[in-house]
Symmetry: C2
Subunit: 327 residues, 2 copies
């Protein structure tokens, strides 16, 4: 055969070897063979190479992922907001006064814009839907809802609106002895009922915002009560702070999609040794949504500039993923 053809064959063989794991399964099959996929694989291969200059012991392979817009779809509104609105509707028969009280009247009339215009109103809606009950009760409510609620555009369960390439990435990292965590601005209790089944991430590796919680004895049994008011805001500066408080190690791998993730990415980047910082850029109006600098949900502006300036990996959903949602 002509030499060039032989070289091509060898290149294909090497390519196939590079992209399959020990099991012979393809690595990250929903990722196109473009920059982001190569950057991820190159990073992982460097940190797991025992004796290599970038080797990181398994115990220190901490990978953190934002949730909304990074692991699952956050449009047309945050899933937890859809949950809160549904809860208002479900609870409204017990609250006839809501027909004439804001923000409830607007919510019940389907006028979301008016309902969410006032921050005080939003906090009130969060309070009535998320607090004033035991933690066990809230977990049950959230579990039941997520088990049946569906995305308004695709009619899929929300837990089917997760990104297939990111599921593969989580699996790939764990196969390489990374410990994967969710670090989300969303409520930790809203996520924990389903993250293990959906992402393979157990409750104790899910960080999020937390409402004030108190301990009380009721009929001789201890209960934890969800109180109005937020105790932990796991967003922006709050992300590295919460990572420090809860995990106690600096991640070596971080993925986000918005300005709310910027400080987590900066904190990850500032450690010594090999680091990976990734951003999901929503560029795919046909298969998902297209938004960044001007979006009220998941705004990506300052973090996109920093990513460009510092050479972080920016994933274009349109160009770098051949599949968006699980089939």
């Amino acid at each position: 055969m002509p030499p060039r053809f032989g070289q091509s064959l060898a290149a294909v063989a090497i390519g196939a070897w590079l992209t399959t794991g020990a099991t012979g399964q393809a690595t990250l099959p929903s990722w196109n063979d473009t920059g982001p996929r190569r950057a991820i694989v190159s990073f992982v291969e460097r940190v797991v190479k025992n004796g290599g200059p970038d080797f990181v012991p398994p115990a220190e392979r901490i990978a953190v992922f934002d949730n909304d817009g990074t692991l699952w779809c956050e449009q047309p509104m945050y899933v937890q907001l859809a949950f809160a609105l549904d809860r208002v509707k479900t609870l409204s028969p017990q609250h006839p006064e809501w027909k004439t009280t804001e923000p409830f009247a607007s919510i019940l009339e389907g006028d979301l814009k008016s309902a969410l215009a006032d921050e005080k109103g939003v906090l009130q809606m969060i309070a009535v839907t998320h607090t004033g009950m035991t933690t066990d009760k809230f977990t049950k409510i959230a579990s039941d809802w997520i088990g049946s609620a569906r995305h308004p555009k695709t009619n899929r369960l929300y837990t089917e609106m997760v990104y297939q390439p990111m599921l593969e990435l989580l699996t790939y990292l764990r196969a390489n002895e990374f410990k994967t965590f969710v670090v989300s601005g969303g409520g930790v209790d809203f996520m924990r009922p389903w993250t293990e089944k959906t992402y393979g991430i157990p409750p104790e590796q899910v960080l999020g915002s937390v409402v004030k919680t108190t301990f009380e004895m009721r009929d001789g049994k201890p209960v934890l009560l969800r109180q109005p008011g937020v105790d932990v805001v796991d967003d922006k500066q709050g992300k590295p702070i919460n990572i420090y408080k809860v995990i106690g190690r600096r991640p070596i791998f971080a993925f986000g999609n918005s300005d709310g993730d910027q400080q987590m990415l900066e904190w990850t980047a500032a450690g010594s040794g090999g680091r990976f910082m990734g951003i999901v850029h929503h560029t795919d109006a046909a298969r998902e949504y297209e938004y960044d600098r001007k979006s009220s949900v998941g705004r990506l502006d300052a973090a996109l500039d920093e990513a460009t300036a510092k050479g972080w990996t920016v994933v274009s959903m349109k160009d770098d993923w051949n599949t968006v949602f699980p089939k």
Copy 2:
């Protein structure tokens, strides 16, 4: 051979089989064959028995341990207090004003009673020794100190003042696919530098009290700063609350030694299915210390009554442990 002798041999063989694991190593060798050891082994064997009525899937085998007085010695004073006092002495050359300011003057004169008499003074001492620095800096200070500071009575390193039977218990639980956590009233950052090496418990499985923390850019690099004031008090009611916030699952196994652990034990006990609640009772003046209801350090009073009333396992250090400290 006479029948009775044969029966005895069989009994010995069965006993040996019951008390050795798959590796042939003896299980919990520093525990006498008394009630507590039997209760632990019986509990673990029940929850790991696949198909049995008390089976618990590995992911739900969460075990929590208090630290001071449960995993290591807390007498004659909490180790972290010894650290704070040492830090005052180390820092005093830079603070000539301390010679005439309380509580520092009393600390420097060795008059601990006066120094600790006033709560405001104690908080001031904590503030100057534990805050006003980056998290990285504090970790370095705590690591350096714990690497060389010694117990005043035994002259051992503090990390050698851990309880050998509890180390064996941690290992035994992990061998049975339990996930072990520290849940301590002590500062989380004071423990994390050494828990992995000493207990086999990684930083992300250590819960403790946390000082207020802020995020800041310094010379273009992000730092986390330790601020005066406490953000999380991981003691009494704070323990189940923090377990809920950080771990997000109810433990099935909990060990403490003082009234500060009572709510954690109650919270553990209140779940469904098999539960184990244990208390280390300091009854051994000869080998360690003897204290309970009237001690200012690690007071065990209401929790001891509740343990008795509810049949929790109370370990008498004197009677139930054949070894206290590692050899």
